[in-house]
């Protein structure tokens, strides 16, 4: 219980402090410190779950099991390494884009509040609070996307707010329908929206209502996952916001939204006893993978390119959970989040050096080893090259698909092939060639890039037994 309070309280307190002192010289360090403490608290929480199993605390409002505690640790970890990257990055930005004190306070404070909403969404036991936290995450990031106040960024933020707001309103309707069905079984009042109670009674929930509810929920939370055709906010928001925000949007927020979909899927599956929810996820997943892969080809902006790559991978995960390859899906969540944030770290510094996000104008990154190699290896990893971890998870998803849904394999292979051709060619021309650009005022943060890539490499070569046990346990919970 103490651990949960720490995990949620630390980012909240950090957000409050940074709202006051976010413009000070030492604010980036305070930001890192808050995230580091959150990370430690999340480790303690995970340790407790590992020792004593899943737990329900604080008047049953919070529920921790193997499935969400692993995402809590991942979220806290990537949030921490992103603050390490954000230290030199935002110091450079403050000069390059001449950010005001107000903007710096806003950035640092909202970063922590954003982490808080994600951790709240992961740990809450109440489907209603899950919705509130997801909407809170949108609100916290909308002003971050428009931080630079350029025309494009305002437009991107507006699109982000309206599309995600409309989407998430559909999810609220789905939640109301679930409450409507559960209230008959569990009685009115506070417990009828608690996930643990719903899970225990899922067999007796009214199937028609739950199937309608799931359609609204997958459309609603799916908007935040970036599922096609509701994805159009995602590339804009990734391209226009500051790069640390792109990194946490891609690496964390999309995972949390997918987590919400999967949690609801468990309930709907238990009530329906058929493959309706799975089939919806397979359909959305495949459509997303395929569309995103072909759109990758036409990108000119480096951050939009990797935004579309995130859409593609989220589609792949949705597909994996749909066909029941839960182990592979969870592994893919982990490696995608580590790799994609490492890529955005390199991209952020590359863009600062070249002064542009247009890929044609970025050349010769290899002269700055951490950036050039970081981008090259990160791109190879995200494209599923062995020996990186993405290869392992994609391989597992593909073999599972071959067994259960053989017709889907060629579709996936085509999509992965097209994605490879588009991204690899573009990254290659940026990494090699005559270097151009200027020196950075503050040296780049190489540590987070190397750390993430090393972890992805390790996960590709060898998954430690306790981690594997953890994934299997979580995969079993998803069912």
């Amino acid at each position: 219980m103490m651990e949960i309070l720490a995990v949620l309280g630390l980012p909240l307190a950090g957000g409050a402090l940074l709202a006051l002192w976010g413009h000070e010289k030492w604010a980036p360090e305070l930001n890192s410190m808050a995230s580091f403490c959150t990370f430690i608290a999340s480790i303690l929480l995970a340790w407790k779950v590992l020792v004593s199993g899943s737990m329900v605390v604080l008047n049953e409002q919070f529920f921790i099991d193997s499935f969400n505690v692993f995402l809590v640790v991942l979220t806290a970890f990537v949030a921490f390494t992103t603050t390490l990257f954000s230290r030199p990055y935002m110091r450079n930005e403050a000069v390059l884009s001449s950010l005001s004190n107000y903007q710096l306070r806003l950035y640092h404070s909202m970063y922590q509040i954003f982490c808080f909403t994600m951790l709240l969404a992961l740990t809450t036991n109440n489907l209603g609070i899950l919705w509130v936290a997801m909407e809170g995450a949108t609100l916290a990031t909308v002003l971050l996307v428009s931080l630079y106040r350029t025309r494009e960024s305002l437009e991107a933020a507006w699109k982000y707010f309206i599309l995600c707001g409309v989407g998430i309103a559909q999810a609220l309707f789905g939640t109301i329908l679930i409450y409507f069905a559960s209230e008959k079984v569990l009685g009115a009042g506070g417990t009828a929206l608690l996930w643990t109670h719903l899970d225990a009674a899922k067999g007796s929930l009214e199937p028609t209502v739950l199937s309608i509810a799931f359609v609204f929920l997958i459309v609603g939370y799916g908007t935040k996952v970036g599922l096609v055709p509701l994805h159009s906010w995602l590339p804009d928001a990734h391209a226009e916001g500051p790069t640390p925000v792109s990194a946490v949007l891609s690496g964390l927020l999309l995972n949390v939204a997918l987590y919400a979909v999967v949690r609801c899927k468990i309930l709907v599956e238990g009530a329906l006893h058929n493959r309706f929810a799975d089939d919806l996820m397979i359909g959305f997943g495949l459509l997303t993978v395929l569309t995103a892969a072909f759109l990758l080809w036409r990108q000119k902006d480096i951050k939009r390119l990797f935004g579309y790559s995130s859409i593609e991978h989220m589609g792949l995960m949705t597909f994996a959970f749909g066909i029941g390859a839960n182990f592979a899906g969870l592994l893919h969540m982990t490696v995608h989040s580590l790799t994609k944030s490492a890529i955005f770290f390199s991209v952020g510094h590359a863009v600062q050096r070249s002064g542009t996000q247009t890929m044609e104008a970025i050349r010769g990154l290899i002269k700055f080893p951490a950036i050039g190699w970081g981008l090259m290896l990160g791109a190879l990893a995200i494209l599923g090259m062995p020996p990186f971890g993405v290869f392992t998870s994609e391989f597992l998803i593909l073999t599972h698909a071959m067994q259960s849904h053989p017709w889907s394999t060629p579709v996936l292979l085509i999509a992965l092939g097209v994605a490879f051709a588009s991204i690899f060619g573009k990254v290659q021309s940026m990494v090699w060639g005559e270097p151009a650009g200027k020196e950075l005022l503050h040296a780049q943060a190489s540590l987070p890039i190397l750390l993430h890539l090393a972890m992805v490499l390790l996960l590709g070569l060898y998954i430690p037994p306790y981690l594997a046990r953890w994934y299997s346990e979580a995969a079993r919970l998803i069912g």
């Binding site: 209603g128 509130v132 428009s146 507006w158 309206i162 409309v166 009115a188």
Partner: protein, 218 residues
């Protein structure tokens, strides 16, 4: 019982009419007034449901609705349009007759969609679920057809009203903690949008979103 149930049905039909009125209203000031009336109707219907079914927590949510949607949000919106000097702005781009026709189609679809749900509902208000769904979808239509940022936001808020009505009419309201959370999100959302409007205004010298360059769709 019969009388109050008729009264609720009357209020529900007023909500539906208001949704159509908003759909066809070109003036921003009148739009905010309609939004106020909608909030008021919602609060009254919640009180009626609360008194006939003895659900005491509904009184609190009626109070919450009244203070948020009749007092605070309209006050913020009125202040905003005064400061932005768009008080007398008129939407010129909408084609009212065809929007109305689409709206009628939406109402028919939502009544069909709500049919299986209202059969299952045991609440005295079950016949209004179709109306709640129609209000949500009509607000969505309004957001799609409008080009001014403020009208889109009012569409968004009235969609939230529709959802709230759906919650009270299907289940006598969500648990209090969730309602408070939703209300907080709505309030924070509107405040953030306020900041946002000024930024848009500063950059584009207009709040008309048609001036935004069309975002590349690829």
């Amino acid at each position: 019982m019969a009388l109050s149930s008729q009264f609720i049905n009357l209020l529900a039909s007023i909500l539906l009419l208001l949704a159509f009125a908003m759909l066809s209203q070109r003036r921003i000031r009148s739009l905010i007034r309609l939004f106020m009336v909608q909030g008021m109707t919602l609060a009254v219907s919640t009180v009626v449901i609360a008194s006939t079914t003895n659900q005491s927590h509904l009184y609190y949510s009626a109070l919450l609705t009244f203070s948020l949607k009749v007092v605070i949000l309209p006050w913020i919106l009125f202040r905003m349009i005064r400061q932005l000097n768009v008080e007398w702005d008129v939407e010129t781009l909408i084609n009212i007759p065809s929007t109305m026709l689409v709206g009628i189609a939406i109402v028919i679809v939502s009544f069909n969609l709500a049919l299986p749900i209202s059969h299952l509902a045991g609440t005295i208000t079950r016949s209004t679920i179709g109306i709640a769904m129609a209000c949500v979808l009509l607000s969505l239509l309004m957001m799609i057809t409008r080009s001014k940022a403020i009208s889109q936001v009012i569409g968004f808020l009235s969609m939230e009203n529709g959802l709230f009505f759906a919650a009270t009419s299907t289940t006598y309201g969500m648990p209090m903690v969730v309602e408070l959370g939703v209300a907080l999100d709505v309030l924070v959302g509107v405040l953030i949008l306020g900041v946002f409007f000024f930024q848009i205004r500063e950059k584009f010298e207009s709040l008309d979103l048609k001036h935004l360059e069309k975002a590349e769709e690829e």
